[in-house]
Symmetry: C3
Subunit: 200 residues, 3 copies
Amino acid sequence: MSLLYAIDITGTFVFAISGALAGAAKKFDLFGASVIALVTALGGGTIRDLLIGSQPVGWMKDLNYLLAVAIAIAVSFLFKRYVERLRKTLFLFDTIGIGVFTILGLQKTLAMGLSPIIAILMGMVSAVFGGVVRDVLCNEDPLIFRREIYATACLAGGLVYVLLDSLSVRSDVSIILTVLLIIVLRGLAVKRKWYLPVIR
Amino acid sequence: MSLLYAIDITGTFVFAISGALAGAAKKFDLFGASVIALVTALGGGTIRDLLIGSQPVGWMKDLNYLLAVAIAIAVSFLFKRYVERLRKTLFLFDTIGIGVFTILGLQKTLAMGLSPIIAILMGMVSAVFGGVVRDVLCNEDPLIFRREIYATACLAGGLVYVLLDSLSVRSDVSIILTVLLIIVLRGLAVKRKWYLPVIR
Amino acid sequence: MSLLYAIDITGTFVFAISGALAGAAKKFDLFGASVIALVTALGGGTIRDLLIGSQPVGWMKDLNYLLAVAIAIAVSFLFKRYVERLRKTLFLFDTIGIGVFTILGLQKTLAMGLSPIIAILMGMVSAVFGGVVRDVLCNEDPLIFRREIYATACLAGGLVYVLLDSLSVRSDVSIILTVLLIIVLRGLAVKRKWYLPVIR
């Protein structure tokens, strides 16, 4: 559990860095870029918490999330050029991040007594809708509505987690398998340029 | 009541189809188009539920709504060309839909003990703000901010419903009158090209 | 307290006027401009209430806020040309408004038992995020993400208020000092063209 928490905070940090850079690319000022960093990192979980009715939203009850975002903003601001060279490393952490965000969002939704189908949806929302809010605030078409398999990997991961859970597989085993599945799916999708079909 | 529920589900289905087509028109992939279908169909009621504090939001407690959206996505994906030829039929169901969405949203708000004025607003929000979220996610100006009388028909319908209710008119009678009023108002507005004035 | 309430309502009125004019500038119709007026005036407090979990949101429980917005819409619609000549006066009230919105939002958040850091954030959100929702609905880049010191003045004011409060300064004194600080900071920022740095 403590490992999940550590990855959750690290994922928040990495998401916030990518948000700060996205804000900078739009030539927003320090305030604007900070808002983009914050919504990219915490927006998905915030939407989930609002929809399932878990308020005050999660990051208000554990300031480590805000701290991770604040450090990410400072790092992006001070070492932008260096950070941009780390894209590959960031990509890895981002992918581990969406795996863990999916599971934590799913578990929180189940804990509210909601259906597994809703939980799978909310796992995906936790992982990827911060990016949607980022794109809305940046006044751009949401990237994940056209991108290679990304949200879909989270949905597949969530489905597998729920199945393993219903088979009484040990929780830590299903968590590891789910995160691995999401990482592999997304990695393959990027490498092999897998795309979802478009309605014609 | 059972008839209202049936129309509510049908309206959700029709809204989801129009959302899926809007997503496809933006060249979003299957995931993106599905999100647009979902927010078009369920976004208005979701915003209402968040504002009045009825959480988890309605569609999380009755999976038939998600099912209607899922079928609508599948139908749009498999039979897009056929569906597009049904525009007139869809228009009719869409119009009946906003009538019923208005009443159900209004009743839910009143049941939370809120003022009739708030209930009229929330009836309209339930009926038309899914379309606003759709347009925000599609990165376009909200259609209903410029369109012929549409949201206004819902406000007028809500006002009449509240008035009839205060005169102790039987509930099923006021429901039928309200829905008819919304249908007629919107139909006339489209036919006669009625527009709201613009601030100059 | 009654003075704070009067300024709160006046600030709501002034924000709604600026929103209605923004909607008119986009050539939205009366309905569209009214929605923009409403979200500009009440959107910040609404987001705060959703995040901290105070629902139904504030303006649903005291109809004077909606009344202020409705009058502002009518005034903008009937006397647009006259209102536009009042820009300087509106600027003054807008600036007093964000000062008071910041404090009220901060106090409400503290009253929910949340941390002072969250309260400072929520004070700022109450004051300036109505404008962000306005820009999202108008399909434009959020103004305050690039503008001279504006949200930052609210954050500075919130910080000072929390500090004074922790030093047991009398509440009315810290309120006056905080609002004055926000007014002076913002006035100077506009006059001297102070901008926040951009990440490069």
